[in-house]
């Protein structure tokens, strides 16, 4: 009897310890899902972790737009190891958010994905340099070091450099530096030009302190060259699903409702953007407020004004994006019109227009956001 007890006790001790942990965890993480019984469950896979870049979807959920449309939407955050195209193709999510170029690359590999709404109508990618270097155009980057994240994010920058007589692919006339996820390298002047999204990296530079003056860096310390102005801007965040899933008439109805509610979320974020920042921060309690406030304003500038109505693909922008991706993504063939459809987004916009909602935001004006030290 006594011989048995020692190991029984040990296992019991460990068992009890694990049980306590499990109990603590499940008690905290079991939201009641009973009232959602009648709602259609769908999952949305984001491109990156929670941030204002996806504010519209979080707003649609927080304001109850999804629920009003009969949907129970599970918003899954992305991250460094998550590829939305794979998650959607694998059936773990019905909808995904990613850059149009990623969708085109995936399609070229034979993955059957379709863009059903192009939410961002212009590119947020810029090349930034320090003003005192005098590099205020792409042409002046000849013989300099230019940073980019690569891995499919480089097409706009490469196209811009080629347009100005450099060859970034073989590094002739320009040196390409693999950009890390923080802007420290740029602040320490390890490169001449760095890629920066208006809504993220640009703000990170402005939120840093200039050691020489003891104050924050200013926009006037920088040259900001948007790819949109260079003429090599590509379409970024859009909503996609699989061709197989969307063939079903019932699924098309779900998609229409999903898009209408999501657009309504984006429209809310246009008209009540500060409130939307709060929604984002509630979903990401670790995010710095100042940085997200800046981001929300810049994201709005990528969507609004939406000439054709929010979510409708502009064929000319699509064609330009396709050509750039074909060249620098080394695609087998030029992505054609089969990669997107506008009927669902148009139906969603029509629904919203009938509700008297402004779907173009023609009178929208960008707000002025003051950066905060450290993005706080």
């Amino acid at each position: 009897m006594k011989q048995r007890r020692y190991w029984v006790r040990g296992i019991a001790a460990l068992g009890v310890a694990t049980a306590i942990w499990a109990a603590i965890g499940t008690a905290g993480a079991s939201p009641t899902k009973q009232h959602a019984a009648k709602l259609t469950k769908v999952t949305l896979q984001l491109k990156w972790v929670t941030q204002a870049q996806f504010a519209g979807y979080y707003a649609a959920k927080a304001k109850g737009y999804y629920k009003q449309a009969g949907l129970d939407v599970n918003i899954k955050a992305g991250g460094p190891q998550i590829i939305p195209e794979q998650v959607v193709a694998g059936g773990q999510a019905q909808f995904g958010i990613d850059w149009l170029s990623s969708l085109m690359t995936s399609r070229d590999k034979g993955i059957d994905l379709v863009n059903i709404a192009q939410v961002f109508t212009r590119s947020g990618l810029t090349l930034i340099t320090w003003k005192d270097t005098g590099i205020n155009s792409i042409a002046k980057m000849k013989g300099k070091t230019v940073a980019n994240w690569l891995g499919g994010n480089e097409y706009e920058v490469f196209a811009a450099l080629v347009k100005n007589g450099m060859d970034p692919v073989t590094q002739k006339g320009v040196k390409i530096f693999q950009e890390p996820f923080t802007m420290d390298f740029f602040l320490k002047r390890q490169v001449d030009a760095a890629s920066a999204m208006t809504y993220n990296e640009l703000a990170q530079v402005l939120e840093a302190t200039n050691d020489k003056t003891g104050k924050l860096f200013k926009l006037s310390d920088l040259n900001v060259i948007p790819m949109q102005k260079v003429g090599t801007g590509m379409l970024e965040d859009g909503v996609f699903t699989t061709g197989k899933w969307i063939k079903d008439k019932g699924h098309q109805a779900i998609a229409k409702k999903f898009l209408a509610a999501s657009f309504k979320g984006w429209i809310y974020c246009r008209d009540h953007w500060r409130d939307c920042v709060n929604t984002v921060l509630k979903n990401g309690p670790a995010l710095p407020r100042g940085h997200q406030t800046w981001q929300m304003n810049e994201i709005n500038a990528l969507i609004w004004p939406a000439k054709l109505g929010i979510g409708i693909m502009n064929p000319a922008d699509y064609a330009r994006s396709a050509k750039i991706v074909k060249t620098y993504g080394k695609l087998k063939k030029l992505p054609g019109h089969e990669a997107y459809r506008t009927d669902l987004a148009k139906a969603a916009d029509a629904t919203l227009r009938r509700q008297g909602v402004d779907i173009t935001g023609r009178s929208w004006k960008k707000a002025k956001v003051n950066v905060t030290a450290g993005g706080k």
Binding site: R5, W7, G10, L14, A17, V49, G79, P80, E207, P288
Partner: protein, 293 residues
């Protein structure tokens, strides 16, 4: 009589306090020296302007007191304290790691028992057990997530399985080693009594394997925490320490202390797991008959 009865516990008590203070003093001295080394290195490099092996400044090496102070500041303007946020994140990760640890320990033990009884199983199974550890966890994790995700399993369970994957190996190897280390004479004695293999296992082999198993469990306890943190990234989990690490990594230039503070909390969680196993070991091994333990 009564004088002795009063004296003895008192002496023991004084002895205990002395030993206790000694340990605390040692802990404080070691902690203080580590602190001093960090701050000393920092100020020397900054003062001399040395740039090898890396540039030392507030971004690369924040002050230790800044790192701890970050825990007491709000995680965002108007948000909860970073310490509170990380406490909840640590609880979430602890749940994943604990379930993973339990799963890994059981599977690891079972995988160790089988080869201990059959040479065939040892030759057939062991190479694959070893091979499993040469496959990087970063490659396994997404597969586990996709596979369990398609079975409609809650996301954190996938993370627990990933943690279990890092846990089971040391347990298997040590169980096998421990089970075969039983005293030959004792084994022969048991056999002469015509004891069944099941009884030999529980009454002789397992008790003699306990010290080995506990050594492995101590290694696995910390590994399960690491596994849980790594596993959170491909699982879209933002509630745990792994999720916070991704976010704070992104904003590292803006506020490096938050990432460092998260690392400190993750390390503390690993230490707590380790200590739990140590306590369990004390309970078990003290109960175990001396000749086998």
């Amino acid at each position: 009589m009564s004088a002795i009865a009063v004296e003895r516990p008192r002496e023991r008590y004084v002895e205990g306090v002395k030993r206790g203070t000694g340990r605390v003093a040692l802990f404080v001295v070691v902690l203080g020296s580590l602190w001093g080394l960090w701050e000393g290195y920092r100020s020397l490099w900054i003062h001399q302007g040395w740039t090898w092996p890396f540039v030392v400044d507030n971004t690369t090496m924040p002050h230790i007191h800044d790192i701890f102070a970050a825990l007491g500041r709000p995680s965002q303007t108007g948000g909860p304290l970073l310490g509170t946020l990380l406490w909840h994140a640590a609880l979430f990760t602890a749940k994943e790691a604990a379930v993973g640890f339990a799963l890994g320990a059981v599977v690891g033990f079972a995988l160790g028992v089988l080869p201990a009884h059959s040479k065939l199983a040892q030759r057939g199974l062991l190479p694959y057990v070893v091979a499993s550890q040469t496959v990087p966890i970063l490659a396994i994790a997404p597969i586990v997530v996709i596979y369990l995700g398609s079975l409609q399993v809650t996301a954190w369970v996938s993370v627990a399985v990933i943690a279990a994957y890092l846990t089971f190996f040391p347990v298997t190897i040590s169980t096998l080693r421990g089970l075969t280390s039983a005293d030959r004479r004792a084994l022969e004695l048991m056999r002469s009594y015509a004891t069944g293999p099941w009884q030999v296992l529980w009454k002789l082999r397992v008790p003699s394997a306990l010290p080995y198993i506990f050594t492995a469990l101590k290694v696995s306890a910390t590994a399960s925490v690491v596994g849980a943190i790594i596993g959170e990234a491909p699982s879209s989990i933002q509630n745990g320490l792994g999720g916070e690490i991704v976010v704070f990594n992104q904003y590292y230039t803006l506020d490096p202390t938050k990432l460092w503070a998260t690392n400190v909390v993750a390390a503390l969680l690993g230490i707590i797991f380790f200590l739990v196993v140590v306590v369990a070991e004390k309970l078990v091994v003290r109960r175990a008959p001396e000749h086998v333990a």
